[in-house]
């Protein structure tokens, strides 16, 4: 018994204390060194932080290079998978596209209304800083679901910034180095995001599970069960870190956990992240002030224009009044003048008739005078063969003052 205990002690001593031929350090010494690292790290010892930062800068880049062959294999695997599912995906996407096209118009209108209403309650967040980054390392350890990006504090990445893939939320920045940064994914067990469920606007906290989905916590299941149909999960905007309405996933109605907690299926497959968008949201005061100022300016201009228009209308109304009066006067004058013209025309007609009558009389008188004077030169008698009194020839003869002289 004692011999076996001695053997055990000798073996342990040999394993941990004895420095073998090619070993520069003893195992126990290095174990102690690791423990010291851990303890100092736990107390946030600065030298450890500097060492960690230094290692990070080297390791993240090296890891990206070392991962290239595996990434190639992985991408090939996904490519082959995608090729197999190509036709099914095509049909599915075609149907979805038709649906989405019909929904798009109403969505745009609702979006505009939403922006308008949010502006009214001063809850309109805008993207103030937007950085595109490449995923350097996306190795999902059993302990932490995170990815490392190739942008760091040099590129204005800050702690807590939201990370999106397209329009969908992926996670938030939890560690910023000079050239790299780490993103805690929503699937991580330590990730807690305030969310709201639509329809119903039910508030909850979503936590990761360490897998490709999340669970809903701190929500009233009564509220949840009242609503039927597909439930979508969005950020609620509570806490001010994320703006509200960023899509996250939808509730899986088929899977319910033992303690009645609901499972959230994410829209994004976190193992497929390649490029992401790192953004921060803020209520940009200058933007709001500028818009208000612009609105005031435009309103002032509108008011001034309205006043001018009013004055012009007043003047025009006066002018119209005068013009109307003038027109009435002119119309009256016109009528009287018309009457006068008619009267004058009648008078002229009468005068014309009188003149004509007088002319006829004058001609008759002239004829009679000439008849008296020259009647005998034209009058047919027994002794001559002239013209009969009253005939045209006689008349013409009288007017010629006698016969024609050859």
């Amino acid at each position: 018994m004692e011999t076996s205990r001695d053997d055990f002690i000798i073996a342990i001593r040999s394993a941990f204390l004895k420095k073998e031929n090619k070993q520069r350090f003893s195992l126990l010494g290095l174990i102690l060194f690791s423990v010291i690292f851990l303890i100092l790290g736990n107390f946030n010892f600065k030298a450890i932080d500097y060492l960690k930062t230094g290692i990070k800068e080297i390791v993240y880049r090296s890891s990206f290079i070392v991962s290239t062959p595996e990434n190639f294999i992985r991408n090939s695997f996904f490519t082959v998978n995608e090729h197999f599912n190509h036709y099914e995906d095509y049909l599915k996407l075609k149907n979805e596209l038709d649906d989405l096209k019909s929904k798009d118009l109403s969505r745009t209108i609702i979006n505009l209304e939403n922006i308008k209403l949010k502006k009214l309650i001063d809850d309109y967040f805008i993207t103030s800083n937007e950085i595109f980054a490449k995923v350097l390392i996306d190795k999902q350890s059993p302990f932490l679901r995170s990815v490392v990006l190739n942008k760091g504090s040099k590129n204005n990445i800050k702690l807590g910034m939201a990370v999106l893939d397209g329009i969908h939320l992926v996670g938030k920045v939890v560690e910023v180095n000079y050239l790299t940064s780490r993103v805690l994914l929503l699937s991580d067990i330590n990730a807690k995001i305030p969310v709201s469920l639509e329809p119903g606007d039910i508030q909850a906290i979503m936590s990761g599970t360490g897998k490709q989905n999340g669970i809903l916590q701190y929500t009233k299941n009564d509220n949840l069960e009242k609503k039927t149909g597909e439930k979508l999960v969005y950020t609620s905007g509570a806490g001010g870190l994320f703006k509200s309405g960023i899509p996250i996933g939808k509730i899986n109605e088929e899977k319910i956990l033992a303690n009645n907690e609901k499972i959230v299926d994410f829209y994004i497959d976190f193992s497929q992240l390649k490029y992401v968008k790192v953004i921060s949201f803020s209520k940009e005061k200058s933007f709001i002030e500028e818009s208000v100022e612009e609105e005031i300016k435009s309103l002032n201009i509108q008011i001034a224009e309205m006043k001018m228009a009013k004055e012009t209308i007043k003047v025009l109304l006066e002018e119209k009044k005068i013009t109307k009066e003038t027109r009435i006067k002119i119309e009256a004058e016109n009528i009287s003048l018309k009457n006068k013209i008619i009267n004058l025309q009648n008078t002229a007609l009468i005068a014309k008739k009188i003149i004509k009558k007088n002319e006829t009389r004058r001609k008759e008188l002239e004829f009679l005078e000439l008849n008296i004077l020259h009647g005998r030169k034209c009058k047919k008698t027994i002794f001559n063969k002239l013209y009969t009194v009253g005939s045209q020839e006689y008349k013409a003869c009288i007017l010629r003052k006698g016969l024609k002289k050859n």
Binding site: I10, L30, S34, V35, K139, S141, E175, K211, S271
Partner: protein
């Protein structure tokens, strides 16, 4: 002469391959997570460290394992020093087994590997959860341990084949 120098070169290369593999595995963390098999993951570093510490202890410098541990901590964002501690602990267990073994047997190694990684992962879990307030999915962790244990058997054959058939060296 050429044959001799070729043999030396092979020996020289074979002595560095495991440590290169270890660094690649900690930097790359290849665990086939992307296959999407539920709970499937394994720790290749554990298998590699245990096998080579047991069979070819001259291939692995403890200092390099310590550095590999630091790299792993940075890659998976764990407290600095914890992976080094676990890796060195596995080395210690392997060295102990080597010292007490007279007639090597794969089954015995395999069972001892289960004990080793169980102790190592328990320590890791305890430190992370109780000291650093990490939230860890326990089942995932256990599954990782089981798969690592199961795959050791296969990998040990691969390493044996590589060492004996390709490089042509014998175990310690």
């Amino acid at each position: 002469m050429t044959r001799f120098s070729n043999y030396n070169f092979k020996q020289y290369l074979s002595s560095y391959i495991p440590i290169i593999l270890l660094f690649i595995s900690v930097l790359n963390e290849f665990d086939f997570n992307y296959l999407g098999i539920k709970y499937f993951s394994f720790n290749f570093s554990y298998i590699l460290i245990f096998y080579y510490s047991l069979k070819k202890s001259k291939s692995f410098g403890y200092g390099l394992i310590f550095i590999a541990g630091l790299f792993n901590d940075v890659v998976v964002s764990m407290p600095l020093g914890i992976s080094s501690l676990i890796y060195l602990l596995i080395c210690g267990f392997a060295a102990y087994l080597r010292n007490i073994t007279l007639r090597p047997s794969l089954i015995k190694d395999w069972i001892f590997f289960l004990i080793t990684i169980s102790v190592a992962n328990s320590l890791l879990y305890t430190i992370l959860v109780f000291n650093f307030s990490f939230k860890i999915d326990y089942f995932y962790f256990v599954a990782n341990t089981i798969f690592t244990f199961l795959l050791y058997f296969g990998f040990s054959y691969v390493f044996y084949f590589y060492e004996n058939e390709i490089i042509g060296t014998s175990n310690d």
